[in-house]
Every structure is written in C-alpha cells, then in structure tokens.
Subunit: 218 residues, 4 copies
DNA sequence: GATGAATGAGCGTTCATTCAT
DNA sequence: GATGAATGAACGCTCATTCAT
C-alpha cells in the first residue's frame, strides 16, 4: 500500500526536521542553554511531538552526535584508503586533515561532543545509544591505530603500544581544537588554528618515528 | 586612618571567606549544581552579601580559577627552577608532572576550567577578569616556552617556533586530561590516565628532539 | 442478517478486551499512574480505538467498577442465601465476610472505588453510568437490609430503621477498610485489618441486638 | 529591636496567608486538581515565595492538616472534660458530636485527610511532619480510648480491647461521613447525614454495652 | 555595609484527547 | 471501524538576581 509507505516517509521526514531544528538551536545556544521548547518551535511542531520521536533532550543530542560521527567515520575511512598505496605517515596526515576538515565544516559538533557531560548524559540515554556513540568513536580510533601499526610494521615508527599512540594523537588534536576555540586563547598562541593543528600533527608523527641513528649505528 | 585600614582588611577577609566557601561547594557539587545559596550559607553570610562582593556566580568562578591558576603558576615555577641545573628535557618532564599533580590534587579545577568554556562564561564576566584568567594561562605557557628555548639553544631540540611548540604540549596534555575524564572513554583507551599522560608527554618531547644523525652527519 | 450479528459480537468482544486490559493496568499501577496508552497497548488496539468504545478514561473506570460490583453482588447473594436456613446473625456475618473476602481478593477495587470519589469523577462520567454504579451499591445494601429485617422479625434485633441500620453496617465496614489502608494508621491501631474488621462487624451486630431483659421483663 | 520583631510577625503573617490561600484552593478543587500556581496566585505572592515557606505541595497539605487536627484535638479535649462529672456514655456522645461538628464546620478537612494519599504523601513529606500528623490522630484516638476505659471500669461497657473499640468507633464515624459525602449515596441511604451519624454512634455505643441479663442473672 | 525575603521566568516531561487518513 | 500521529496545556520545582529595610 502506498499509504503506508508515504506515512513512513513522512514520519522519517518529521524526525529529520526535528533533528535539523535541534542541530540549529543546540548549535546556536549550546546544549545546556537550548530548551526543548526552542527545538519544537524551530521544527514547527508541538513539544509533545518532539517527545514522540525522541525520549529525552539528551537522546536528541545523542542522535545528532551519532549522525555527525557517522559522517566523520565515512570521511576517515576515505582518508585512510586511497587509490594508490600510501605510507603510514601519509595516512596519518590524511586522517588528521580529514578530522580537521570535519570540524571546520561542522565546528559545532565538537562543542556538542564536549557537552556530552560526564554523569548526566550517560544516565539519561539508553545504554544502547550510549554504546553506539562510543563504538563510533572507537571505530574512528581504529583507523588511526591501523595506520600506526602499518608504520611500525614498515619500520618507520618505533615500536609502541598502538592504542596508546592513537589515543595520544586523538587527545592532541582534540586539545588543539579545543584550545583554539577561544578567540583570546588563539590570540595568546598567536597563530592560526590550522597552523597549530598541522604542527601538532607533525610533532606527534615525528614523536612516533623510529630513531634513525640506531639504524645508521655509531 | 587606622579605621579605614581595618575596614579594608575586613573586607578582604570577607571576600576570601566567600571565595573559600565557593571553592568548597563548587568542588563538592560541580559548578552547575552548586547554588549561590549554598555558597552564602557555607560562608556564613547572606546571599545579598555574596552579590556585594561578586557580581555574578560566574564571576566567583572566575576568581576561583584565578586563584587556582596562581597556585598552579607557583608550582610550575618551582618545577622549572631547581637547585641543581637541569636539562631542557628534565624541565619539561618536571613541568608536565607538576601540571598533572596539580590536577590530581585539584581535579575540579580542570572541570571548572572546562565549564568556563561552555555556558557563555565569557559573556557574564567583565573583560578585565577574563583577561586575567587568560594572562595567567599565558604565564604558565611561558615556563614551557623557556624550557623549550633552552633545549633549542642547547641543540637537543630541533629549531622551531617556541610558542607553537609550547602550545602543542599544552594542548596535548589538556587533551589527554579531558579525554580521560569520561569513564567510558577511559575504558576505550584501555589504560590509566597517568600512563597515557606520561606517554603523551614523552611523545611530544621526543617529537621536539633534534634529529641526531644530522649532527653526526657530513 | 448473520453479518450484523457477528459484527455485534466482535464489537462486544473488543470492548471486553479493552476492559480486561484496563483492569490489568489500573490494578497494576493504580488508576492515576496508568495511562490510556498503557491500556491500548495491553489490549492490542490503538489508542483511538479505546476512545471509540469509551468516552474517557474515567468511563473505563466506571465500567470496571460496574463489573466489579456485579461480581460482588453475586457473592453477596450467595452469602445471603444458603442451602440450610440461617439466622439473621449468621447472614450478616456471612455478608460481612463475603465483603471482606472480595476486597482481599481484589484490593484494588476498593482503592478504585475511593479514587472514584476524589478527582471529580462524577463530572466526567455520564449520569447514566454513574446511576448504574450507585444502583449496584443499592442492590448490595439490599441484602444487608433483608438480613436485618429478618432479625427484627425474629425478635433477635431490636426494632429500628432497617435501611439506616444497613447503612451503618456498610459505612462501618468501609471505614475499617479505608482506615487500614494506610500502613501507619494500621500501626497506630496496632492490629491486623482482618481482626479489626471482624470485631467491628460483631460490634455492630451486637449493637443491633434486642435488649434481652426487656423481653424477659421484670 | 522592633524591626526584628516586626519582620518575624510579617513572616508569620505571610505564611498564614499562604496557608489560607492553600486551604481555599485545595478545598475548592481538591488537592490533586489544585496547583501550586493557584495557591501562589490566591495568596498574591510569586510561586517562588510559596516554596520559600513550604518545601513542597504535600508539605502545605500536611501543615493544613496539622492545623485542622490541632483545632479538632482542642475540641475533643473540651468535649471529654466537662465541669460536672460525666458518664462514659455521655463522654462518647460528646466526643462523637464534637467530631461531627468539626466536620460540619470544616467539611473539607475530611476530604483533605483522605487525599493524604497512600504512598505519595508519605514519601514527599518530612518524616517529622508525617509523624506529627499521625501523633495528632493518635491523640484524638486517645480521648475515645479514655472514655471507653472509663465505661469498662464502671461496668457499663463490656470488657474489650480498648484501642480496638476506639478504632472501630473512629472507623465507623469516618465511614459514615465519607458515605454521606456523595449526594447520590445520601439519597440512597435516604436520610440526613446527621441522623445516620447519630444512629451509628449510638449503635456502636450500644454494641459496647455490657449485656445486662448476665448481671441480672437467670 | 549587610540582610534575606521576594521574584518569576524557566525547565524537562507527561498524557488525555482529537482528527485526518 | 480503526489508526496513531499530533497536540498543548499542565505540572511541581529551581535559583540567579534584586532591592527595601
């Protein structure tokens, strides 16, 4: 029956429209300042309808995050793989740049990811949804780990705990992005976000490198 | 006039007592959950009095942060200086460990520092106070820059933009601390905060090193 | 037409199934906490359908009550009648015990009956339905009246207004049941509900007795 | 200082005015239908002010109840004691009539007392307040117990568990009052509340009487 | 200077009921 | 007849801030 199909489609559209509205108001005011009323108003539905599609404010955030992470994941995957073969170094560079590009395009996702508060969020979201958010993050980390492993295998990176190294890279890039969020901190650092980001990426990669003189001997 | 002096002193004491109370309640319950009532009660003054000394809840936080940063700065200074002469590497290690120790001792400062960035903190605080917070950060950054400069001068670190390098180190350590705040992200990373922190610190320092064979080179 | 008959039957079945579902959810969660959604879900129909068969949540309750009263009435009738002839005293004892047994078996009916009196129940139900609930009560009262009348006729009860006496008995038993609903009032009274109930029943019956020496007169 | 005293007085007045407003709206709409907004509006204060004086809606109810019970208790005490010596029978009559008079004057207290829901209320009120409500009830029961004990001591009432007997009387009178709340049930019973009440009281007292012929022997 | 009573907008969430399909 | 998506008013409670005294 066409009716059923159309219904389904309309429902999905409505859901998307609520999500779109939520993205707008969460991005404009920050998650904490935004109210469910704002979201409903923006989506041009009643507040009750919002709760028909999402069980809580936090759940909306989670789905927004999930959506964003899905996108990011796709881009990381593309960055990792390439038509021609790539060195580990190149792969990390590409992954790092993809990460940066994503946050340049959707700078608010980062804030939202951070707003994903310690206690509160976890408690107010289905464990399943929470798990999804985390496993998406984990998948992202996975690409970085693969690239680092490749570097170790090829002898260009020194032997190390791969997960640890990937976590450090991740933490570093996050740290830079967050640091450079504040205009005044940016001023303090005295350079463009992109430049610091690139330099940080290179510093980490450099830090992962095998120490050449050991190869070249005394 | 002695009266005036005593007045001044009493005023300052009152102010400190409010600040002390605020630290306690903000640390115990987190900034968002704590109320101005809690602070007033703990300080044994009326709520109105709190507003006599601080223009808003956020301002109290800002002064707390300022105070905390002052402490941190002192510890960084001590870490930098030492009785015996230190290598650049050692200095960075000491600075990094001091930073970690500070947040281990006062883990809430970190959270508060982060809370500052969320909820429109900037808008609710005088530019002057905000400036102070930032210049304190800048001073902290200064110690790291000095150590890196020393390393470059002594030839153990490769030549680079010192401010940039210090910023990267700072961003990295922050990134690690924040990453490891989430219990489940911690689980994802699969190791202790302290270990990742130390590893990150070493990776950065390693990344700053001059490439040895160039010295041994032709 | 057979079709019409089947239609009728199906309609009645659906109605019953909604009523059955409502009993379950009202009993499980209490009337106030239960939602029409719960009822619909349990009955495996849509919420709209529930409103097709009953005009409001209160109406459902009214019909449930009616049903329950019907059951109770049957049990009172059985208690009244017996294979062997019974004294008035025995009949009242049996009626009283049947009443208790009913509420022990379906303690929620009592609560629901009481809930009926609170929240403006009267306003949200057709006078007709309300009338039915009341006339069922009246019928129950009838059995008690018959037993008391028998007692008077047989000279064991003193002459009195039969309806009045029955109402008193009814009020007393309700009063005990309601009193003993509150755990802490129960504690205050310091005995089991069943014991107080039985004692109240006996006190009333005792109170109805003819004063023997007047018959034996000096 | 007069200021302090006036402040205290004004505070108490405000508290009373909120209580008065609450009584009105709780009585008009029933506790469940009444909202804290209604109370605030009626008292001509802001909602926040209501919460300044009472910690929850239930607490307001509790204080209303306490107030009412206090009044009732005073009247029961007066009813019990009298200038001339009284028989046990007279005392019970007087207590019963005082109870009735109270609810005739403040018929809504009864509804409120009943609204004091099973679970909810207990959970949302300080144990201390709850205890007070209960101990007030207990005190009321005490007067009835004393009168019954007197009757037993004087040989006019048969020997029985005094607390039990008092509870039965209490339950009965409550049962009558509640029964006669509904106009239609009243119609069903076919007499005035006062008459049924009086008859019930006498029936219970009669039921407590010692059986005379046992005294008069065979 | 200090008090603390008063404010009132704001919040996330619920649910009986309606009505277009 | 049946559906179920949509509604929107309602609710108890909080708390940063103000201001008369």
């Amino acid at each position: 029956m066409t009716t059923r199909a159309r219904r389904e489609r309309e429902k999905e559209e409505r859901r998307q429209s609520i999500l779109r509205a939520a993205r707008e108001v969460f991005f404009e005011n920050g998650f904490h300042r935004a109210t469910v009323d704002n979201v409903a108003e923006r989506a041009e539905v009643s507040k009750g309808t919002v709760y028909l599609y999402f069980e809580s404010k936090e759940t909306i955030l989670a789905h927004l995050l999930l959506e964003g992470l899905g996108e990011l994941l796709g881009e990381l995957e593309q960055a990792y793989a390439a038509d021609e073969p790539l060195t580990a170094d190149e792969r990390l560079q590409r992954l790092g740049r993809a990460y940066l590009r994503f946050f340049q395009r959707e700078p608010e996702y980062f804030r939202l990811l951070m707003a994903m508060d310690r206690g509160r969020f976890q408690d107010s979201v289905t464990p399943e949804v929470y798990q999804k958010v985390l496993s998406a993050s984990l998948e992202g980390l996975g690409w970085v780990m693969k690239a680092i492993q490749q570097g170790i295998d090829e002898g260009v990176f020194r032997y190390c705990d791969v997960r640890q190294a990937a976590s450090i890279l991740w933490a570093t890039l996050n740290g830079v992005l967050e640091l450079m969020e504040h205009p005044l901190r940016r001023e303090m650092v005295g350079m463009e976000r992109e430049n610091l980001y690139q330099a940080a990426l290179e510093t980490i990669i450099h830090g992962l490198r095998a120490i050449p003189e050991q190869q070249g001997g005394a």
